[in-house]
């Protein structure tokens, strides 16, 4: 795999003293979709802003396609397209004008056919002469994407791309992102929607309190850290979990109609067969059963909580 973005020891401390990023190391490979997850204020946007040249780093280096983003900023920035989280637009401009403007800003020659195709791909062609202020939120988001793609970047940053957009548009955007990846564009997205990362990402990074606490292949992550839940629908409801089943640490749900057992799917002994045998021995019957793999969201919440708990143990504020 060819690295296209290399971040090393990246740190940012604002004048207020707030440390937004600390010692972040990350390598993004060409053509991958990387999802950066993290709670509000974790440092996701700060990291993107530094890479794109909007915020000055306090420490560390960033290399884009082999170009140092500070010394060789022209080459580095030419490779990057950014769709920011907020809908920053010139309200009085026409769609086609603002997209053409963005292409010129990046030093690219005019290419009306490319702009036409881009607007058609994003279902904006019919609105090309509409003023941005006349568009819906979803259409404005598309305009932001068109602006970011207007100079044909090799790396696209999507900062919370589907925040506040409806389900249909979200699906459209996911399809668009997949299409871009097929054309070789590297995509780095931040999101609150775990579903989004789960749906699209090849790799996932989790950032919390300015520190990158995990980077892993998405499927590997789910497999490695994933826990499964076995839910047994009981024939007769229970009031309490029998003492004979205490070793499985079971939970009662649905007013005693369900017995829930959480286990490590990767463990050598999951405990499921022995549980079922023991239940049979003590005469607890069940009508049905199902298992569920824990989602990326469960993993994410777990990781962030672990970090907070670790900091509290060390006496740091949570």
């Amino acid at each position: 795999m060819t690295p296209v973005l290399e971040i090393s020891g990246l740190g940012k401390t604002y004048k207020s003293g707030h440390q937004a990023l600390s010692g972040v190391d990350l390598t993004i490979n060409k053509g991958e979709i990387f999802a950066l997850l993290g709670p509000n204020g974790a440092g996701k946007t700060t990291m993107i802003s530094i890479v794109c040249g909007i915020v000055t780093a306090s420490a560390g280096t960033v290399t884009v396609g082999g170009h140092d983003h500070a010394r060789d900023y022209r080459a580095a920035r030419s490779m990057i397209g950014l769709v920011p989280q907020e809908l920053h637009t010139d309200a009085f401009e026409k769609v086609i004008t603002t997209v053409t403007f963005s292409r010129g800003l990046f030093g690219k020659p005019k290419d009306p056919r490319f702009i036409e195709q881009l607007l058609k791909d994003l279902s904006l062609w019919d609105k090309r002469n509409a003023k941005i202020m006349e568009l819906s939120g979803g259409m404005k988001r598309r305009v932001m994407i068109a602006k970011a793609l207007s100079h044909e970047p090799e790396i696209l940053f999507l900062d919370e791309p589907t925040a506040g957009v409806d389900v249909e548009l979200r699906r459209d955007m996911w399809n668009m992102v997949r299409g871009l990846r097929e054309r070789g564009v590297t995509i780095i997205l931040t999101t609150h929607y775990i579903e989004e990362a789960e749906e699209m990402a090849d790799r996932v990074g989790v950032i919390s309190k300015g520190k990158l606490i995990l980077v892993e292949e998405k499927d590997e992550l789910i497999k490695k850290l994933g826990r499964k839940t076995l839910t047994l629908n009981l024939a007769e409801p229970l009031e309490v979990v029998p003492a004979e089943l205490a070793q499985w640490n079971l939970q009662l749900a649905d007013e005693g109609h369900e017995l829930v057992y959480e286990f490590d799917s990767q463990a050598e002994a999951t405990g499921v067969p022995s549980l079922l045998r023991r239940m049979s021995d003590i005469g607890i019957a069940f009508k049905d059963l199902n298992t569920r793999q824990s989602s990326l969201e469960d993993i994410f919440v777990g990781l962030v909580h672990q970090t907070k708990a670790g900091e509290q143990e060390l006496g740091q504020p949570a």
């Binding site: 004048k15 900023y73 920011p84 920053h88 010129g104 800003l105």
Partner: protein
């Protein structure tokens, strides 16, 4: 140095298009203002005023009127030009583009200065409807106009980066620049002032600018043309130094 000419062109044309959208307002405002000044100072008061160093009073105030409007327009155009992207958030696009600070400066200040020079020319044309005014050094006059426009656009650019609200955007032009311009000899010669006031007025930098511009019209001013040119060059260098520092530190742009 300058590599991204297309980027400069894009911002320049974008800014000029914004001017074009309000072209008639931008055009009519200086015409009406100049007309009113000539009605009040040229006809009502000017007819009772004696010539100033052999120059009829109506013609004498033309350079001052042009400078008065050009100062305020330059500062307003340039500060608004860079403040608006900050306010709307679209500044992210400029900062993340492969444009150097110098290229951004040329684009924004170039557009703002162009507007100011156009407005200056409109005032000059309007003034001709009321008074007969001859220009002794036309080339120098145009050069001085451009230099003034660029210098005050640089100053406006600084204000636009510094300002964090529309109120701050207005405060320096209204409370500092406008009074200094009025008291800088736009409507009078320093010789008309009592000695004490004349000395005090020499601390007003605008005096040197208006005097220099007036020199290009009539070949005479309150201070020598060399002193005026030096003052403009000094102010221009100071503005460039501040802007260089702002870009280098990312002051109110990148933090």
């Amino acid at each position: 140095m300058i590599q991204n000419v297309r980027g400069i062109r894009s911002i320049y044309l974008f800014e000029m298009a914004r001017f074009g959208r309000t072209f008639w307002t931008s055009l009519m405002l200086p015409v009406i203002t100049t007309t009113l000044y000539f009605v009040v100072f040229g006809s009502a008061i000017g007819s009772r005023m004696s010539d100033v160093s052999t120059v009829p009073y109506g013609a004498f105030i033309v350079p001052g009127l042009m400078m008065l409007t050009m100062f305020t327009e330059s500062i307003s155009n340039a500060s608004f030009g860079i403040y608006m992207p900050k306010w709307t958030g679209t500044i992210y696009e400029m900062l993340s583009s492969p444009m150097s600070p110098l290229e951004l400066l040329i684009a924004y200040v170039g557009a703002a200065a162009t507007k100011s020079v156009i407005i200056g020319a409109i005032i000059f044309a309007t003034a001709h409807l009321f008074v007969d005014v001859q220009v002794a050094h036309p080339l120098l006059m145009v050069a001085f106009m451009i230099l003034m426009a660029v210098t005050f656009c640089l100053f406006g650019f600084i204000i636009g980066i510094w300002a964090q609200s529309f109120e701050q955007l207005q405060v320096i032009p209204l409370l500092v620049v406008y009074p200094l311009t009025f008291l800088g000899g736009a409507f009078y010669s320093l010789d008309m002032l009592p000695a004490a006031w004349r000395t005090l007025t020499l601390f007003n930098p605008v005096v040197y600018l208006i005097s220099g511009f007036r020199w290009t019209f009539f070949g005479q001013g309150d201070v020598g043309i060399g002193v005026s040119m030096g003052a403009v060059a000094l102010f221009l260098a100071l503005c460039l130094a501040v802007i260089f520092w702002m870009f280098r530190t990312g002051y109110r742009l990148k933090n």
